[in-house]
């Protein structure tokens, strides 16, 4: 399984599945991180703590722990 934390900067991927618990899953959905959406990793912080992903017209910041829960597929 490939997850979002393994994706390099400036790479575009499709979200396949979200392996998060209920509340977090809903939050990811409502921020636009839905299954089937295309996202791009645009920035990672110094110690690989947080990443910024771009999707459609917006951008979302995630911690690496949360990125690990998002299963993706390279395009």
């Amino acid at each position: 399984m490939v997850d979002l934390s393994q994706i390099n900067k400036n790479q575009k991927v499709l979200i396949k599945q979200i392996h998060a618990q209920n509340t977090l899953k809903k939050r990811l959905f409502s921020l636009g991180l839905g299954v089937g959406k295309e996202v791009e990793v645009v920035e990672t912080s110094l110690q690989k703590n947080t990443i910024k992903v771009a999707l459609g017209f917006s951008a979302v910041a995630l911690r690496f722990d949360e990125a690990k829960m998002i299963e993706v597929e390279a395009r």
């Binding site: 979200i18 998060a20 209920n22 509340t23 977090l24 899953k25 809903k26 939050r27 990811l28 959905f29 409502s30 921020l31 636009g32 839905g34 299954v35 645009v42 920035e43 990672t44 912080s45 110094l46 110690q47 703590n49 947080t50 910024k52 771009a54 459609g56 017209f57 917006s58 951008a59 979302v60 910041a61 995630l62 911690r63 722990d65 949360e66």
Partner: protein
């Protein structure tokens, strides 16, 4: 006149407040919404004799109670009293904004959609066919720009139109399979002639049941027909799961809503050119850069504090001069000694010393408002999350913590964005370490008194940084002791960078300044008068007379110009014996000096015998290990009422207790000559950490929903403040 209550709902950063501001012009007043401390903005519009009242609800991404402030919005929408929902949408991000809109449509309330930021959308080549959208949804949709104020009149017209007419059910269509199952449930309810007690339509109930909404389940569970309903529902859910090939209802709902939003987007949205859109991206490559991001952030913060001090210094001088002049002029025209003292030493000295810091406060609040409105705040959270996480805090804690530099009251409320109760409480415990604007006067006063002017700004920055660092350490300690538990996930939107509207910035700074002046004019005025009174009474005529005779005796000697022995001094009280002894030692230097010393001692003795002096003496032992004299002890206690009062108390105490000569009028100089560096540093540390004012503590109690934690806060802050001040005092003494 009929009143219309409008609930302003939208995702964060869509310009809800700005739109309310644009609709109402300068009539907007912001106050607290009773009960849930949601900001209620009231505006009176004369059109057709309607008064429109806006409830500015906290922004939310979806109707799930993820965080406490989103819960406030959800609860209000479900149970509050309002006439219609004004759903504000960011036109440049239609897709995601529509996700919330679909959820709002399921509420079956009267609704108007404002497609805000139209100007920005046009620039980015985004065009939304609002007429088509209105038809598809059966909800009036209006393209507006709160910045350029376009179509605002049309929006108001639509709001009035929708209010006056009866509810038109919004058209929210699900996929055929889901619709089929919904029909089955609705038909069953209709056949049973079911009428919901709170006037929900049967379709609403069907949707609520299928989407497994707790509230609807609770409602239906009480009905006898639930027994028959249940197998039907089971069957329907099974069909939906099978069709979606997924057995998580949230995912099903999300897919349904996404599909509807996407379909709607395809119908009404056309994008012509891709321009401008990457500007935010470009700025971000620098501002959240791996290596440069943090230094830039620290530089920006440093700049803000430098500006607060250096720029604020200029008008501060003017205000100080004005109050000095005012004191002298009024003092000359009043003959009654007691009244003169009350007005000059009490009111003018107290209120003046607080008003003086208004420019600093304005600059600080402007800085915080800029951070918030431009979108940089979430970048800072992104940059700091890794660092914060090590201390057991959350990147999002940054927002309440920075707000804490302004005032602890809104900061405690801002902590609602944190979902996890423990994270929230932890952040709230730490907010006190972020020195609020009211403490700024104390710092400016002491930094100015003990540091060169060129260094004072840096000293100020250092005070804030040290406070923040102590906060982080305290957070770590609390995290591993009192607040053990799971971390809250860090997921957060990075909004677009936007130039804030000058009007909104002005509105924020203006309302904060007015609040500050009001506080100075009422609360601090009263506190100054009270402190003046308890520091002037009871009058001790005995001491006054004794010293008067002593001074007269010396003066007589001065006139004779003969340095004769001075053994004839009357020695009625012990205190005076001591004083005489002192005077005799000093005598060889000059009689004039002796007179001045006596004069000082007289004031000292007088103040010590007042109510305040007695109180101060009583608590002095508690503060003595920190190097505080009783005046400083009293000032810290009075600071519990409001931190600004510390300065006004010092102002009143030192202007009464000491000889205020023409060349020594400024409080800053008096403090520099009366307080040792070690005591001053200990004092700053104490003020930095000890309990926020009573108002903030009350808000803490309300937000924490627990008396226990409030008591902890009081003990924790006082103990920490005392210990840290003690350490500081001793270290500085060792070094000096």
């Amino acid at each position: 006149m009929k009143k219309i209550v409008i609930a302003l709902v939208g995702q964060p950063n869509v310009g809800k407040s700005h739109l309310a501001n644009a609709i109402s012009g300068s009539n907007l007043k912001i106050g607290n919404f009773a009960g849930v401390t949601v900001e209620k903005a009231t505006a009176r519009l004369s059109t057709e004799d309607f008064a429109i009242e806006f409830i500015d609800l906290p922004g939310l991404y979806s109707l799930e109670d993820f965080s406490a402030d989103e819960k406030v919005t959800k609860d209000f929408l479900l149970t509050g009293e309002y006439d219609l929902i004004l759903n504000v949408i960011d036109s440049t991000n239609l897709d995601r904004n529509l996700m919330l809109t679909t959820e709002l449509m399921e509420l079956q309330k009267k609704m108007v959609i404002a497609l805000n930021m139209d100007d920005e959308a046009i620039k980015e080549g985004i065009n939304i066919n609002s007429d088509a959208m209105s038809k598809i949804l059966s909800i009036p949709c209006v393209r507006v720009s709160s910045k350029l104020k376009t179509n605002i009149d049309l929006l108001v017209k639509q709001i009035l139109h929708v209010t006056k007419n009866s509810l038109v059910t919004p058209k929210l269509v699900y996929s055929d399979e889901v619709e089929e199952q919904l029909q089955t449930i609705v038909r069953f309810l209709d056949d049973k002639h079911f009428r919901s007690p709170n006037s929900l339509s049967n379709r609403q109930i069907a949707v609520g049941l299928l989407w497994q909404k707790k509230e609807i389940y609770a409602l239906m569970h009480e009905q006898p027909l639930y027994i028959e309903l249940q197998p039907l529902l089971n069957n329907a859910l099974g069909h939906v799961y099978m069709y979606c090939q997924c057995d998580d209802i949230e995912e099903v709902i999300n897919r349904q809503h996404t599909a509807f939003a996407a379909g709607l987007g395809a119908e009404v949205l056309s994008v012509s050119k891709v321009k401008n859109r990457n500007l935010t991206q470009k700025i971000d490559t620098l501002l959240i850069h791996k290596l440069f991001g943090l230094p830039i952030f620290i530089f920006l913060m440093w700049g803000l504090f430098q500006l607060t001090f250096t720029l604020g210094e200029i008008p501060m001088g003017w205000i100080e001069d004005t109050f000095g002049w005012l004191g002298e002029t009024i003092g000359e025209s009043i003959t009654n000694e007691a009244l003169k003292s009350l007005i000059v030493d009490g009111i003018i000295a107290g209120v003046g010393s607080v008003i003086m810091f208004l420019p600093n406060i304005m600059i600080l609040f402007l800085g915080i408002a800029l951070l918030e409105t431009t979108g940089y705040m979430s970048r800072a959270a992104f940059l700091l999350d890794g660092f914060f996480h090590k201390f057991g805090l959350h990147g999002k804690s940054f927002v309440p913590l920075v707000t804490g530099f302004g005032c602890s009251v809104p900061a405690y409320m801002a902590a609602r964005t944190l979902k996890n109760k423990k994270d929230r409480l932890l952040t709230m415990f730490i907010i006190g370490f972020m020195s609020c604007g009211a403490r700024l006067p104390v710092y400016v006063l002491f930094a100015g008194a003990f540091f060169e002017e060129s260094m004072a700004g840096n000293a100020l920055f250092a005070i804030y940084i040290i406070g923040a660092l102590m906060g982080l350490i305290a957070a770590k300690i609390l995290r591993v002791t009192a607040f053990k538990g799971e971390d809250e996930p860090f997921v957060m939107e990075m909004p677009k960078y936007r130039l804030p509207s000058l009007k909104l910035l002005w509105f924020v700074v203006y309302s904060k300044s007015i609040m500050y002046i009001k506080k100075a004019g009422t609360f601090i005025l009263l506190a100054s008068m009270l402190i003046w009174f308890i520091s002037s009474y009871p009058k001790n005529i005995l001491i006054e007379e004794e010293y008067a005779t002593k001074i007269e005796a010396l003066q007589a000697q001065l006139e004779e110009a003969a340095p004769a022995e001075k053994t004839e001094a009357d020695s009625e009280a012990k205190a005076i014996e001591e004083a005489t002894a002192n005077a005799e030692i000093k005598e060889p230097a000059s009689i004039e000096d002796a007179i001045a010393a006596l004069e000082n001692e007289k004031h000292e003795k007088l103040v010590e015998r007042t109510y305040l002096g007695i109180m101060g003496k009583a608590i002095e032992p508690a503060f003595a290990p920190l190097g505080f004299d009783w005046k400083m002890g009293v000032a810290t206690l009075s600071g519990l009422a409001a931190k600004e009062v510390i300065v006004s108390t010092l102002g009143v105490l030192y202007s009464l207790g000491d000889e205020v000569t023409e060349e020594d009028t400024s409080l800053r100089e008096i403090i520099a000559s009366n307080i040792s560096l070690a005591s001053a540093m200990a004092f700053i540390v104490f003020v930095m950490v000890y309990l926020p004012c009573l108002a903030a503590t009350a808000v803490f109690a309300k937000e924490a929903e627990s008396l226990k934690y409030t008591v902890y806060l009081v003990i924790f802050t006082f103990a920490t403040a005392w210990i840290l001040a003690f350490i500081t005092y001793n270290i500085v003494n060792l070094l000096a």
